[in-house]
Amino acid sequence: MSDHHAPQSLLSRVFSTDHKVIARQYLYLGLVGLLVAGLFALMIRWQLAYPGDAFPILGNLFWGETNGVMPPEFYNMLFTMHGAMMVFFAITPIVIGAFGNFAIPLQLGADDMAFPVVNMLSFWVMFLGAVIMTISFFVPGGAAGGGWTAYPPLSGVANYGVGHGASLWLLGIAFAGTSSLLGAVNYVVTTLNMRCAGMTLMRMPLAVWGLFCTSVLNLLWVPVVAAALFMMFMDRTAGTAFFLAGPGSLFAEGGALAGQSGGQPLLFQHLFWGFGHPEVYILIFPVWGLVGDLLSTFSRKPAFGYKATVLSMITILFLSQIVWGHHMFTSGMSPLLGTAFTFLTITISVPTAIFFLNWLCTIWRGSLRFTPPMLFALGVVFVFGIGGLTGLFLALQALDIWLHDTYFVVGHFHFTLAASVFFGTFAGVYYWFPKMFGKRMNQSLGKWHFYLSFVSLTFVFFMMMYIGATGAHPRRIADPTVYNFLGPFQDANVLIGWGAQFLGVVQLIFVWNFFTSIRSGEPASDNPWEASSLEWVAPTPPPHGNFPVAPTVHRGPHEYNAPETGERGWLTQAEPSA
């Protein structure tokens, strides 16, 4: 490894092929994305709390002619970019990019990814995507405003009010997708080929299982959505009509839709959700895996039913690909198909129930250490419990025809996706920070960060479900006071607004903790959590090449308090038993 001690040029440090450097780059990109998309959320909630009032700061700067009131096109941009950036430039780079890059080689005892150059490329392709997304705000007409789902024809042709930003948006997402594909190839090959001696598939930490299943889904479905987005890009720029409505007299010369024909808007929804539902699991599998590992490590007990958990994950991997129609019960799709999709969707609750059972049985009779990563992992169990159970409501065809496109859906998927991944992100950062940066984060600040986030986030998303189910509060409207039937719920919008601002402010605790710990945190030992997976065997922080001597694995990933561990109660996977 001597060559790595030579002073490196700035260029080779920026364009590094070291998986740990790439992991940090992904982490920074993702945290910036989270910050920006989070600020958009706060602006959305402010607007909904005080529609018709002058918007603080921005109102004076930009919206003079409306007396500072946010124009609806800006509101549409906000929620479109909030969703798209959260999914593609915050969650994806953090839980897949950063955690995958950091954990997979280290936890498998490998010296790096299988294809380090491809790995570097995958980060920079995503970075380019993020740059394109940023530029899209500054083109005439502004950023995309057709929703993160980008349904055509609204998003598919320029003349319906969604400007050129939408074309750039499509490009940006295509770059993010390409990055995911490159990453997925790397993760799959690394997991299958780069495991150290003794690391059988069934001895891999659950986090690696989660990332592996994520990568398989990415390989299968990113090409589908990439093709759909490319087709839409052609519709917008080259005059094709893949997703623009079919023939009819309206399309004849002089008709309002002349020039568009032969296509089918519904086709896009099938392609989009064909990817879109697996995407939920693409984002959540790494978190599920990590939570399994964390609950075990901080309960000082093996993950309960490891094999059943892995099997459940693989079952969900399959099922997740044949349920997309539950997003389309009101779309005009055949009701017969709807019935089939209802049935397929609710069956996902069976493997999911096994997951929960195993999590709960893992902490049962354990010896629980409430460190920040453990608190956030328990938080994931709580919020995903709410998200999963409310998912049942939306799987039901007749009930969904009522709840679809209301805030019940928004609240539901924010519990499932946003809250779970949000907590999963912090669980992972607090957990791996010592190994990543060689410093400890402040533990009590971490706990405060958890408790305050937990309370405000649960309140905000629960209230969303409430106004959706009780008041039929529609999504994506800039001003709830337009509808009389929403009158009684405006107070709730104000409460949600303040809850959201509070949640936003609480994150400053994390930002402060993160940066002060990097600068002046107390130095971390090699294994501060007394965990047994292999990343804790490596030096801190691990050098290029990771392990001075390639480790040999002797046992499963969480054999805490096994008889062979003796008085100490734990052995790393690499230590031979006494």
């Binding site: 309960f304 009930l399 025809i401 039929a472 994506r476 308090n561």
Partner: protein, 260 residues
């Protein structure tokens, strides 16, 4: 906060399913929460307490998993799906025929709901057809059949009091139907709110004016409706309708197929 009133008793079945699902899932969540909190307190790390070593792959653990899986599948999934499917067939399984229903053609466009009705002669596409923007008037007591097309982007026809909605697409006809049993006057009396109106919302993002794409539905008694219809039909020629709509007025044959 009380939930929105319903336009007839049949659709309260949706509210019932919502409540049933809420109770069922709340029970499950209560168990999960009790275990989370209970275990967190009981098994916290403290001197003299050691974790119990088990991998949870014993035959007993496997049996427990199977029991839980069965309970979830049959107790939760199947029961929910059963009631939901029942409601689905009840509300959406049986579209009314054109003869027995009040037929309304909807042309949705950015950002308005255009309604067309046959008028006194009962024939679509004749001189006395009634057109209106964002205002729909229907009689109580017989089903309303709404046939919809979009002139531009996707919209979604949403009347919260029917507990249902249906997307409106260009290039494709979709339909929605409901029984307006409760007149606007009856709803006002029930709510003790003289200003109450049945509101129609657009539930699918359709662009800059999506928020304001709002309609009002007035439900009259059959007698009041007959008077209203005669009056509107007499004035119908005053409405200057874009020719393109005539071209595109729905061919009943289109819909007949779906009707079977």
């Amino acid at each position: 906060m009380e939930r929105l009133i319903t336009i007839n008793d049949a659709v309260t079945e949706i509210d019932w399913i919502f409540d049933y699902a809420t109770i069922l899932t709340s029970c499950i969540f209560a168990v999960v929460l009790a275990m989370l909190i209970g275990f967190a307190i009981k098994y916290r790390e403290r001197p003299g307490h050691k974790a119990h070593y088990t991998r949870g792959d014993s035959p007993a653990a496997v049996r427990m998993s199977i029991v839980v899986a069965m309970l979830v599948f049959f107790g939760v999934d199947i029961s929910l799906a059963y009631f939901d499917h029942h409601a689905f067939l009840e509300l959406y399984g049986n579209p009314p025929s054109q003869d027995e229903a009040t037929v309304v053609d909807v042309f949705a466009k950015q950002f308005e709901w255009n309604f067309a009705q046959a008028g006194s002669d009962g024939e679509m596409g004749t001189e006395d057809d009634i057109f209106s923007i964002n205002k729909l008037t229907v009689p109580a007591g017989k089903p309303v059949l709404v046939r919809m097309r979009s002139l531009d982007v996707l919209h979604s026809f949403f009347i919260p009091y029917t507990r249902g909605k249906q997307d409106v697409l260009p290039g494709m006809t979709t339909a929605f139907w409901f029984d307006p049993d409760k007149t606007t006057a009856a709803a006002r009396a029930e709510l003790d709110d003289p200003n109450f109106e049945y509101e129609i919302a657009c539930a699918e993002l359709c662009g800059l004016g999506h928020t304001t794409m709002r309609g009002i539905m007035t439900v009259l008694t059959p007698e009041e409706f007959a008077v209203w219809e005669a009056e509107e039909s007499a004035n119908a020629a005053n409405f200057d309708m874009p020719e393109i709509w005539w071209d595109w007025s729905l061919d009943p044959a289109d819909y007949a197929e779906e009707d079977e």
